[in-house]
Symmetry: C2
Subunit: 204 residues, 2 copies
């Protein structure tokens, strides 16, 4: 996203406030009318800017969508880090990892903001923010496993990389907004059951 | 599907051969041209039957799609049962369960027959065949866990229902064609890693 932001910043005035205003208005607009079937013209008309003015700040509709998506994913990551910091043990961190991703993902993409199709596009089209989010989740999984192994909470027979990859696979249906969408009603409970299974798999 | 078949059978001549011919031709047709964006008229024209004649046997395009989907899922279930029968232990059955679903699902819906959007519709719209398939997989998971617990291969502290529900959740991304589609390239390896994690979670 850093690269993306730099590119976009060179396109228009260095007024971040206007960029932020457009993003906030676009988020509101896409929540109501969807992302896939609307155009930059529709958006411009609705927020009272000219299409040309919006194009001074963003190269395409997707670029606006990517910023919105990145903001949502950053929000989820921040909630996750706050929850992990408060967890006293690696076992507790695993529980929080599954629970926070399920709850925050459901809320941010589906209940509060209803950015369904931004979430879907980001995952389906591997937007940079989505790829970066995946990478950061893999890092988080690895860090929790390392801490748990060091503290003697988790087994050490299985190669660390193998365990980390498998735990991430179990987590993915909750972390990927596209997959999360198919289990919104049960995501919270699914998260508890999956975390419990993963914790049993990590027993020394 | 039994109910569905009865309904359809009462609509037209009791000639199952013609039904089967239509299904076979439709499978071929949808593999090439997709399911969502084609009509019964398109299909009729392509196979040289009148639209009215096809409607003697099937109430709607979806009804044809459901039979095709049911056939695919039956095929997967048969492959799965054959693989499970050959597995000497419950642990081996868990491995086969994950592996067979991943491989057979990829082949039947995506590589050999390319019935992507029938698979997607069946899962998204909860077609009877898809629901029945899910139920039968839950039963298979439960049976393997019971056998493994009786044989002393699996732990017995966790309530059986809880373990079964969690194992099914881990299996779901491979069993659900809609979710499988997003990981076709890695499904085989994902299946091994997930099965290994599940087996570790079941250790006594």
């Amino acid at each position: 996203m850093t690269e993306k932001k730099t590119t976009a910043a060179t396109r228009g005035p260095s007024d971040h406030t206007i960029r932020d205003q457009i993003v906030a208005a676009a988020m509101e607009y896409f929540s109501h009318y969807g992302f896939e079937k609307t155009t930059v013209s529709d958006l411009a008309r609705s927020i009272g800017f000219s299409k040309a003015y919006i194009y001074k700040f963003f190269g395409s509709k997707q670029e606006i969508g990517e910023v919105i998506c990145a903001n949502c994913l950053t929000d989820i990551t921040e909630r996750l880090n706050a929850a992990l910091e408060k967890s006293p043990s690696a076992t507790e961190k695993i529980k929080q990892l599954f629970q926070t991703l399920a709850v925050a993902g459901c809320e941010l993409f589906f209940r509060e903001r209803r950015l369904y199709d931004i979430a879907a596009a980001s995952s389906r089209e591997h937007w940079p923010a989505a790829v970066q989010y995946e990478d950061s989740l893999r890092e988080i999984v690895l860090a929790i496993l390392r801490a748990g192994r060091t503290a003697g909470e988790f087994e050490r027979k299985t190669p660390l990389d193998e365990t980390a990859a498998a735990v991430y696979l179990v987590l993915r249906p909750l972390a990927d907004p596209l997959q999360l969408q198919s289990s919104l009603d049960t995501a919270g409970e699914d998260a508890s059951q999956l975390a419990a299974l993963v914790i049993r798999s990590l027993a020394p």
